[in-house]
């Protein structure tokens, strides 16, 4: 039986893991290889390295990081961030990335998805989609298009369900956030770039179908509404996308505790979960997370004595 993947995401700048990683037995918390090895030992199923370099030099260093990780860590990993051209893709694959994750470049020219799939196979071709809620009126006025889907759930946080951690107090780190109130204004989802700052006019469901048709073998879906909130994955958009395509979908953005992972895996067709800070700062270990998932009846891969 295929198990659900738990995937830590690491931001890398000039060869260093930024935002640090803060858990036991790491000699150098900024060294991508050290961090990858630590996650490997913890039983992470896959890693995502996100290149956040702006400079040309930084990009060269990133290739070196990929080379070192590929040579020293015998686990799957994906590299994303800043991929503009098929040459960028080729360099990363040749350095040892087995999957590359394309974001803005696929919005600007979906042809890069087809090129990557043709050259390296669908299995190596991942597309990142960053959807964000926008008011329907604003969307129509700005783009001249009609939305593919109109929602009316919880606006702003907008997780499409009431977020309650009451049933799982042992998993909740203690949220002091205000209760969310539904906003009556109808909204739609729009694919964004630049960390949610720039709308593209694209409907995420139609866009997801399009990139899969072109050759995407996996979609990483990062809700710009949920990202950074630690209030849980965006169940509404994750359900829409994972129902719409027959390739694996990785839920991303908003994870604050293992129950959030359980929720998104049980309530949508997402296959895998990605998280950053809850692992990096040692709030939860991979093993602890997987134990909670297993107790909820989800198939996971346990490693060693846990």
């Amino acid at each position: 039986m295929l198990t659900h993947r738990v995937i830590p995401c690491l931001d890398v700048k000039e060869g260093r893991v930024v935002k640090g990683v803060n858990f036991v037995d790491i000699r150098d918390a900024g060294d991508p290889v050290e961090v990858a090895k630590a996650y490997d030992a913890q039983g992470a199923d896959e890693l995502v390295f996100l290149d956040i370099n702006a400079s040309h030099e930084g990009r060269g260093i990133m290739l070196d990081v990929v080379r070192q990780v590929a040579e020293q860590c015998f686990m799957p990993f994906t590299v994303g961030g800043g991929i503009r051209t098929i040459d960028d893709v080729t360099q990363l694959v040749q350095a040892g990335a087995e999957k590359v994750s394309i974001n803005t470049a696929a919005v600007l020219d979906p042809g890069i998805v087809a090129q990557t799939a043709k050259r390296f196979g669908r299995c190596a071709t991942v597309v990142n989609i960053d959807p964000k809620r926008v008011p329907v009126d604003e969307f129509v006025k700005r783009t001249g298009r009609q939305p593919g889907y109109v929602g009316s759930g919880v606006w702003g946080l907008g997780l499409g369900k009431t977020v309650s951690t009451d049933d799982t107090p042992h998993l909740d780190p203690g949220s002091d956030s205000e209760p969310r109130t539904p906003n009556p204004e109808p909204y739609c989802f729009e694919v964004h770039t630049h960390g949610g700052r720039k709308g593209t006019g694209l409907d995420p469901v139609a866009y997801a179908r399009r990139v899969v048709e072109l050759g995407a073998g996996e979609i990483v879906l990062t809700s710009m509404d949920a990202d950074g909130t630690k209030d849980g994955y965006d169940l509404e958009i994750t359900k829409l996308i994972s129902d719409a395509v027959d390739v694996p979908v990785v839920a991303s953005g908003g994870c604050g505790n293992p129950q959030h992972m359980i929720d998104v895996l049980q309530q949508t067709r997402a296959d895998a979960v990605l998280a950053a800070s809850i692992f990096h700062y040692g709030e939860y270990s991979i093993a602890q997370t997987k134990r909670a998932m297993a107790e909820a009846g989800l198939p996971v891969r346990m490693v060693g004595a846990v």
């Binding site: 039986m1 295929l2 198990t3 659900h4 993947r5 490997d40 199923d45 896959e46 080379r67 590929a70 040579e71 020293q72 015998f74 686990m75 799957p76 694959v93 040749q94 040892g96 087995e98 999957k99 043709k118 050259r119 390296f120 196979g121 669908r122 299995c123 190596a124 073998g217 996996e218 027959d246 390739v247 694996p248 979908v249 067709r269 296959d271 895998a272 891969r301 346990m302 490693v303 060693g304």
Partner: protein, 216 residues
């Protein structure tokens, strides 16, 4: 020396480094002399089946690889390198049209996972991507020595196509995705895995080590 065939299809360094990490002598080989001079051979590969066949052919390695298989020395196919061992694949073949011929070292064909699993069954995501558990008869092949079938032996898969051997006896391990499928084969001096042992952490390293030590 264990030779890892470089025919332009995917990353060979991980396989090489994994073997070196285990203390074995492993080298990337890209020509007939290198292949023939290897004591054991690994045929890796990711990407498209037809490209793999063409790359081997263009580099003049098809016959060398076949000759190695016939020599009786141990050989391991990995992922697309497994699929290439078979007679043919439906990848990129027109519907109802001719299939793409492979190396023909093992009888059988390579087919795609069907998203539609029939009425009442959930649709499958293709590619099959992630960690899946292996089912095997522990006594059937040395490849899984020291491993137990089931949840403790999970390996990393990433593929949209899988092999269907004609001879059930060639199947060394299965995994279940929608239905059981062939995850590894063994016949004589030939072994192959659909999963990536070099990406399968502790379990994968054990499988590579078993291959590096086995007697054909």
């Amino acid at each position: 020396m264990i030779g890892i065939v470089d025919y332009g299809m995917g990353n060979l360094r991980s396989v090489q480094k994994a073997l070196q990490h285990l203390g074995h002598d492993a080298e990337v080989v890209a020509d007939a002399a290198g292949i023939a001079g290897s004591a054991r051979l690994i045929l890796p590969g990711v990407g498209n089946f037809a490209d793999g066949v063409r790359q081997l052919e263009e580099r003049g390695l098809t016959d060398t690889v076949k000759a190695f298989a016939a020599s009786g020395k141990p050989m391991l196919g990995v992922c697309m390198g497994m699929q290439l061992l078979f007679d043919s694949s439906t990848e990129d073949a027109p519907p109802g049209g001719p299939t793409v011929p492979g190396l023909g070292l093992l009888p059988g064909r390579v087919v795609r996972f069907e998203e539609d699993q029939g009425p009442g069954r959930p649709r499958l995501k293709v590619p099959h991507m992630g960690w899946n558990m292996l089912d095997f008869d522990a006594s059937s092949t040395v490849l899984f020595e020291g491993l137990e079938p089931g949840p403790s032996t999970q390996v990393y898969f990433v593929h949209g196509y899988y092999c269907v051997p004609d001879a059930p006896a060639d199947i060394a391990a299965t995994a279940t995705y929608g239905r059981p499928f062939c995850a590894a084969v063994h016949r004589g001096n030939l072994w192959a895995t659909q999963f990536h042992p070099e990406k399968s952490q502790r379990v994968g390293l054990r499988i590579l080590d078993n291959f590096a030590r086995c007697e054909a």
